[in-house]
Amino acid sequence: MNGDFSAVFFVLAIVAALVSLKVRDLLAAAALLSLFSFVVALLYVSLGAVDVGFNEAVLGAGVTGILLVIAIFNTCRRSQDRQHRGSRGSALGRLVAMLGLVGVGAVLLWAMAGLPDFGDPVAPAARHLSDRMIEGAYHDAHTPNIVTVMIADYRSFDTLGEGIVVFTAGLACFLLLRSERRRDEDGPGT
């Protein structure tokens, strides 16, 4: 795999993200978000994370996109993205938010000096746990895909949690959307 090749996907992803936040047609924005996810999925693959890439393509680009589109059809298509009408509180809020963004960016860039180089094969993360998994996975589980061994065996508890998260989302939607149906039967809310 060639890491430098992924630079292209990076740039594409950034463009897709920016445009998706910019456009006022929400449907287009949703489509662009799907595109973003898809590009990111390609990026994952180009970085050697095939499983994550597939997952992102299916869930990120696919499921999220579809959910968004359904939601948009149920609500409204246009985003006004209007500049707020200058209430002082919200102007202050924007200022604080901007400052927060700048702060987060600065802090993250400052961290750069302490991080191992991109692609460094002897970085701590590349050695400790990683080595033990790569060397032990096939031996332990007789499955060639190390990531599969990891999520299904070494860290199966995470996967249980993941299952519960999905289940929770289902329950949450049930709790929320069911209520609305009842309200409709009662008559439209004001």
Partner: protein, 522 residues
């Protein structure tokens, strides 16, 4: 592959239970997993039985939480000698696999969650049916899910696993927060956005830690941090942890989601979420600061301690002042939560064993007080009253039992001895004094006045005023099932206060991180 783990765990649980019945003694080494089993089973069992008969959901939840509470108490008793039980999920040694750790601190928080969860559930039987009609099954199931998520967060010794359970509890929390008042959906949405930022910041912090150490197990990470002290990336990881957890625990000024969310959610939602959700985040922060990063480096050397301490104090003052200005009981309590979380933040940021003791004690303490108070607002509303404090005049005579609980909890909030509220502040104050933080000490003491201001205002109305014409008044006393938890929790604050020395000596002294020892406790 998703199915494999529940099966594994169920198998494990069956094994554990069989073992137990054979020897009539719980097998202590299985306890960490065993405690979670009822909740994991409950997540699936509650909706399943609920589909059969709606009422079964409530009963099942009650049984499951009772089992959970019993197990959590057993767990606490087992580790009170200061030991810790480590359980390897699926049998893999950490850091390869995920480890659950039951030590005095996690057992203590677990018991807090369990007890509050159980008592609120007793209350919820009637309340949920009224507040979220026809959706009790989902409501109770989500409640169990949330408690599972929180318990997972408390027990896991793995940084990423903690994130997963973080999200489990958050997602169910968002949903629970969205039922209630019509406006609740909007506040829940805001909560979701900010909560996601919080969780993601935490994840980012984990990312940095992983990149620097190559490990995810807390103990392992802590051991491998040794020579990284000067690394900016390590500092940044801590910053994001504090920001992320600060958001979830509503540390000032990251509390902005809280007042609306607590005000508009249904009374049961608030009563279950307000006491435990922010506290568990505080607990995780304690874990990170003291057990992973090490307090010497994180609080003192990096200077996070003073910053968080002063922000927390800012939260105490701001929350109290805002609470003073509220006319809506729930909103007042919500702001008071901001203030009370400030006390916890203050204690954990000071780095002094006594202050940390105060913070840990306040976790339980505030959980009890706040759930009592929110339950009382719920009782008033469900009995036909209003949340407007102006309409609370004369309620003391109309709902005498309910307001016994309220009064006890309010006095504890103000910090009148011998309620527990006094003692958590006492330890905080001792810690601040001993570490020479005079300014914070004086502010801490004076903040009690603000709290007194908004609670005595209510007590005066409740007991010494006549209801005005046309006030929305409750029909009468709440039901026994609603009053039982209220009184039990209110009395709990008194008992915890009277026996705080025992409690601190037996439980919290064991829960303190190594190197921090309480003076006067052997």
């Amino acid at each position: 592959m998703t199915l494999e783990s529940p099966v594994q765990i169920a198998f494990l649980a069956a094994g554990g239970v069989a073992h137990e019945s054979a020897r009539l003694v719980p097998n202590a080494s299985d306890l960490p997993a065993l405690i979670l089993v009822p909740l994991i089973v409950g997540v699936f069992l509650v909706p399943l039985l609920g589909l059969l008969r709606r009422r079964l959901a409530y009963v099942t939840t009650l049984l499951i939480l009772a089992t959970y509470a019993a197990l959590a108490l057993t767990g606490l008793r087992t580790v009170l000698d200061g030991s810790a039980i480590h359980y390897r999920m699926a049998g893999w040694t950490p850091p390869l696999g995920i480890e659950l750790a039951l030590d005095p601190l996690s057992a203590f928080v677990m018991v807090t969650i369990a007890v509050i969860g159980l008592l609120v559930t007793i209350y919820a039987g009637a309340a949920v049916r009224r507040e979220t009609p026809e959706r009790e099954v989902a409501f109770f199931a989500l409640m169990v899910v949330m408690l599972l998520g929180l318990s997972g967060m408390v027990m896991t010794a793995d940084l990423f696993n903690l994130y997963v359970f973080f999200e489990v509890s958050s997602l169910s929390g968002y949903a629970l927060m969205a039922v209630g008042h019509r406006k609740a959906v909007v506040s829940a949405y805001r909560y979701l956005l900010l909560g996601t930022i919080g969780a993601s910041f935490y994840l980012l912090g984990v990312g940095f830690l992983y990149v620097l150490t190559g490990s995810l197990n807390m103990a392992d990470v802590a051991a491998r941090l040794g020579d990284l002290a000067g690394n900016p990336a390590l500092s940044v990881s801590l910053v994001f942890m504090v920001l992320g957890l600060g958001l979830k625990m509503a540390l000032f000024p990251l509390h902005i989601w809280l007042p609306d969310a607590y005000t508009y959610a249904s009374s049961t939602s608030t009563a279950i979420i307000a006491p435990v959700m922010t506290k568990v985040s505080a607990y995780v922060l304690i874990r990170m600061l003291y057990f992973v990063y090490g307090a010497d480096w994180s609080l003192s050397e990096l200077g996070v301690g003073p910053v968080v301490a002063w922000l927390a104090m800012g939260g105490v003052v701001w929350g109290s002042v805002m609470a003073l200005a509220q006319q809506d009981a729930k909103r007042m309590l919500a702001y008071s939560s901001v203030a009370q979380v400030g006390y916890i933040g203050l204690g954990l940021a000071t780095g002094h064993p006594l202050a940390l003791t105060g913070a840990i004690l306040h976790i339980l303490n505030h959980a009890m007080m706040k759930s009592t108070l929110f339950l009382v607002t719920g009782s008033v509303e469900l009995s036909g009253g209003s949340r407007r404090l102006g309409d609370w005049k004369g309620l003391g005579r109309r709902m005498p039992l309910t307001f016994v609980g309220f009064t006890l909890a309010a006095l504890a909030m103000v910090g009148i001895p011998p309620t527990s509220g006094f003692f958590s502040k006492w330890y905080l104050a001792l810690g601040l004094a001993d570490s020479g933080q005079w300014a914070l000490l004086v502010l801490l003491i004076l903040s009690g006045l603000l709290t007194a201001g908004y609670f005595f205002r209510v007590l005066e109305r409740v007991y010494a005023r006549e209801p005005r014409e046309g006030a929305v008044q409750p029909a009468g006393e709440a039901t026994a099932a609603m009053n039982l938890p209220v009184i039990a929790l209110g009395a709990g604050t008194l008992l915890l206060g009277l026996f705080n020395a025992w409690f601190v000596g037996r439980v919290i002294a064991q829960a303190l991180p190594a190197g921090l020892n309480l003076p006067g406790v052997s």
